[in-house]
C-alpha cells in the first residue's frame, strides 16, 4: 500500500510503518471535531490489517473517501482543504470482537463529510465517494458502510419517491390494511398468454398486485410486448370482476435507457398504474426512471435484485439500511425490504429498521434495530416496503405484528402453489389478511392467538383451511448473517 513513486520520498520504511500514519498526520483524524448539522456522518465497520491501529485505519477511510492521495500534495494549498477533508472523529470497538472474544477485532469508525463534497441530487456522486476507492483500500481487510446520516439541506435536493405511500393508497383506493401481491411463477418459461392467465387468476381471486420477477425481461419464450398486452387484459378483467383497482408490476428493466423508456411508455399507453425496475440498473438509471414515473403518474416498484452482493456480509459492503436511504432519496415507491420470517436473509429487528427507514418521517436513533443516527426526512415521501420470499398465510399474524399496515405482502408460491388453484390461493391470503387486521383492531392478542384466529376463519373459508394445512410446517429458521451489534453498556459484549 502507499507505494511511493520513485524519488519523492526516500525514507519510506520509517515513515510508512503500519501504512497509514500519514492519514492521521494529514488531518483525517479529528477526535475533537463536532459534526455540523450540514455534514454527512457515516459509520463504517472496519477490520484493519494486522499491525494497523484502528485510529489510523479510520483516518485512512476518511482520507480515501474524500481528498487524500498517498502523500501530501502542494496543490491542496490552493484550496480550503480542511473543508474537503473528511474527518474521522470517533472509533469504537464492535462489541463481541477483538481480544478475548476469539474474533478478529472490528471497529465502528465515525466519519463526517462536509456538504460541499457532494453534487446536489446525485446518488451516483454520493456513492462514488462513500463506497468508491475506499472499499479496495489495502490497509483494511474489510469495510462496511453501516449507516449514514444525511443532512436535511442535502435531502432537499432530491425529489424522492414519485408517488409515495399516501398517494399510492389514494390512487388505489385501498386503506387500513397491507396490500397483497404475488410474484408470477414459474419465473421463466411461460408464454405471454399463459403468464397472463396466472396474473388473471391471482388478481381475480383477491390480490391487489401481481408482479414480474426480476429476471423477466424479453427472452425468447416471451417478448416483452406480449407480456404487457396479456397482463393488461388480465388486470382490466380482474378489475371488472371485483370492482376494485388492480395492478401488475410490469418489469421495464432493459439493456439501455432508450429501451427502458420505450417499455415504460408502452406500459403507460396500455393504462398500467405501475412499472418496475431492478436495482442492478444502477443509480443513474434509477433516478431517471423515477423522473419518468413522476412525470407520468406511475408507481415505481424497485426489486432489489443484486443487493445481497453489497449487503449480506457483515464485515464488508454496504448495509441495506444505507441502500434504503439512498433509494428513498433516488425516488422509488416500492422497495423489497425483507420478510424476517421468510426464506431470505433478515433478522427481525434489523428488517424492522429497514422498514422504519422507508416509512418514518423521522428516524430516531435505534441501535437495537441497527439505526445509528437520528434522521429527519424533511417531508420526503415514504416508500412502501415489500415483504416477499417464502412467506405464507400461516404467518399472517407475525407479518402484521412485525410490519403493520403499510407494506405489500407478497405470497408467490404461497398463492400459486395452493392445491386448489391460484384463485383459491389468493382468496386464502386475502381472507387471512383481513381477518388478522380486523382482529388486531379489535384489540386481540394476535401474536399469541394468531394461529387460532386463522383456524377460526378457516371454518367458513375452505381455501384458507387448505392453505393452512398445506404450509403448516414451513418455516425458515436459519441464523441471520446480519444482526445489529450493540451493547447497552460499553463493557458488555
Amino acid at each position: 500500500m502507499n507505494k511511493p513513486v520513485d524519488g519523492r520520498i526516500t525514507d519510506m520504511k520509517e515513515r510508512y510503518k503500519g501504512g497509514v500514519l500519514k492519514y492521521k498526520q494529514m488531518g483525517y483524524w479529528r477526535p475533537d471535531y463536532e459534526p455540523k448539522e450540514t455534514d454527512f456522518i457515516c459509520v463504517f465497520r472496519i477490520t484493519p490489517q494486522e499491525g494497523v491501529d484502528e485510529v489510523e485505519a479510520a483516518a485512512a477511510v476518511a482520507g480515501e473517501s474524500s481528498t487524500a492521495t498517498w502523500t501530501v500534495v502542494w496543490t491542496d494549498m490552493l484550496t480550503a482543504h480542511e473543508d474537503y477533508q473528511a474527518k474521522a472523529f470517533r472509533v469504537d470497538r464492535v462489541p463481541g470482537t477483538g481480544e478475548g472474544t476469539g474474533k478478529e477485532a472490528q471497529y465502528f469508525a465515525y466519519i463526517a463529510y462536509d456538504i460541499i463534497l457532494f453534487e446536489e441530487g446525485s446518488i451516483a456522486n454520493v456513492t462514488a465517494s462513500l463506497i468508491g476507492n475506499v472499499f479496495s483500500f489495502k490497509p483494511l481487510k474489510a469495510a462496511r458502510l453501516e449507516d449514514i446520516r444525511i443532512p436535511v439541506a442535502y435531502l432537499k435536493t432530491f425529489k424522492g419517491p414519485p408517488t409515495g405511500i399516501i398517494v399510492e393508497r389514494e390512487r388505489l383506493d385501498k386503506f387500513g390494511r397491507p396490500l397483497l401481491g404475488a410474484t408470477m411463477k414459474p419465473k421463466l418459461g411461460l408464454s405471454g398468454k399463459n403468464y397472463g392467465r396466472v396474473v388473471y387468476e391471482g388478481l381475480t381471486g383477491g390480490l391487489d398486485f401481481t408482479k414480474d420477477d426480476e429476471n423477466i425481461n424479453s427472452q425468447p419464450f416471451m417478448h416483452w410486448r406480449d407480456r404487457f398486452l396479456f397482463c393488461m387484459e388480465a388486470v382490466n378483467k380482474a378489475q371488472a370482476n371485483s370492482g376494485e383497482i388492480k395492478g401488475h408490476y410490469l418489469n421495464v428493466t432493459a439493456a439501455d435507457m432508450e429501451e427502458m423508456y420505450a417499455r415504460a411508455e408502452f406500459a403507460k399507453s396500455l393504462g398500467s398504474n405501475i412499472i418496475m425496475i431492478d436495482l442492478i440498473v444502477g443509480w443513474t438509471a434509477i433516478q431517471s426512471m423515477s423522473n419518468w414515473s413522476r412525470k407520468n403518474d406511475m408507481i415505481l416498484h424497485m426489486h432489489r435484485a443484486g443487493h445481497g452482493t453489497y449487503t449480506r456480509q457483515k464485515n464488508h459492503g454496504v448495509s441495506f439500511r444505507v441502500m434504503a436511504k439512498w433509494l428513498r432519496m433516488a425516488g422509488v415507491d416500492h422497495l423489497h425490504a425483507g420478510t424476517a420470517v421468510g426464506k431470505l436473509e433478515g433478522d427481525p429487528m434489523t428488517v424492522q429498521g429497514y422498514y422504519n427507514v422507508c416509512r418514518e418521517s423521522h428516524n430516531k436513533q435505534d441501535l437495537s434495530r441497527g439505526i445509528f443516527f437520528e434522521q429527519p426526512w424533511a417531508d420526503l415521501k415514504k416508500v412502501m416496503p415489500v415483504a416477499s420470499g417464502g412467506i405464507h398465510v400461516g404467518q399472517m399474524h407475525q407479518l402484521i405484528d412485525l410490519f403493520g399496515d403499510d407494506v405489500v405482502l407478497q405470497f408467490g408460491g404461497g398463492t400459486i402453489g395452493h392445491p386448489d388453484g391460484i384463485q383459491a390461493g389468493a382468496i386464502a391470503n386475502r381472507v387471512g389478511l383481513e381477518t388478522m387486521v380486523k382482529a388486531r383492531n379489535e384489540g386481540k392478542d394476535i401474536i399469541n392467538d394468531g394461529p387460532d384466529i386463522l383456524k377460526q376463519a378457516a371454518k367458513t373459508c375452505k381455501p384458507l383451511e387448505k392453505a393452512l394445512e398445506t404450509w403448516k410446517d414451513v418455516s425458515f429458521n436459519y441464523t441471520s448473517t446480519d444482526t445489529p451489534d450493540f451493547a447497552n453498556t460499553p463493557t458488555a459484549s
Binding site: 399516501i166 383506493d173 398486452l229 378483467k237 370492482g243 383492531n441 379489535e442
Partner: protein, 138 residues
Amino acid sequence: MHITQGQFSFLPPLTDTEIRAQVDYALSKGWALSVEWTDDPHPRNCYWHMWGNPMFQIKDGAAVLFEVNACRKEHSEVYIKVNAFDNTRGVESMVMSFIVQRPTTEPGFGLQRTEDNGRSIRYTTYSYATNKPSGSRY
C-alpha cells in the same frame, strides 16, 4: 357479483358490534370517522356522497354507529362505508375504509374493449347499475 373494495370485503358482513370495535380502534388512534354512501360504486369513483362532514369532534363510538344507522335508514339500497382520517403531518389521508352496507343485488361491472393500433386495447370498466339514473339503480 360482490364488490371487494374496502378493508373487510372478504369477510362476512360486519355486525354492529364489530363495526363499533373498528370505530373504537380508530378513535383510540385519534382519527376522525366519516360515513359515505353511493349508488355508483365504480372503482374510480373516489367521491361518494358524504353523510355529513368527518366527525372531528366525536370521541364516542356510539355516536358514530348512530350516524351509520341513520344513513342506512335513509338509504337502504346503496353502498355505505365508514372511513377514518389521520391528520398527522405526512399522512393527512384516509387510513381506514370499510363497507358496512350493500344493496341486495350487486350487478357488477362490464368491460368494454376498444381495439387500437397494433394489438393495443383500450379498456373501459362500466357499472351495469349506472345505466339507470341515480336513485333508481338498486
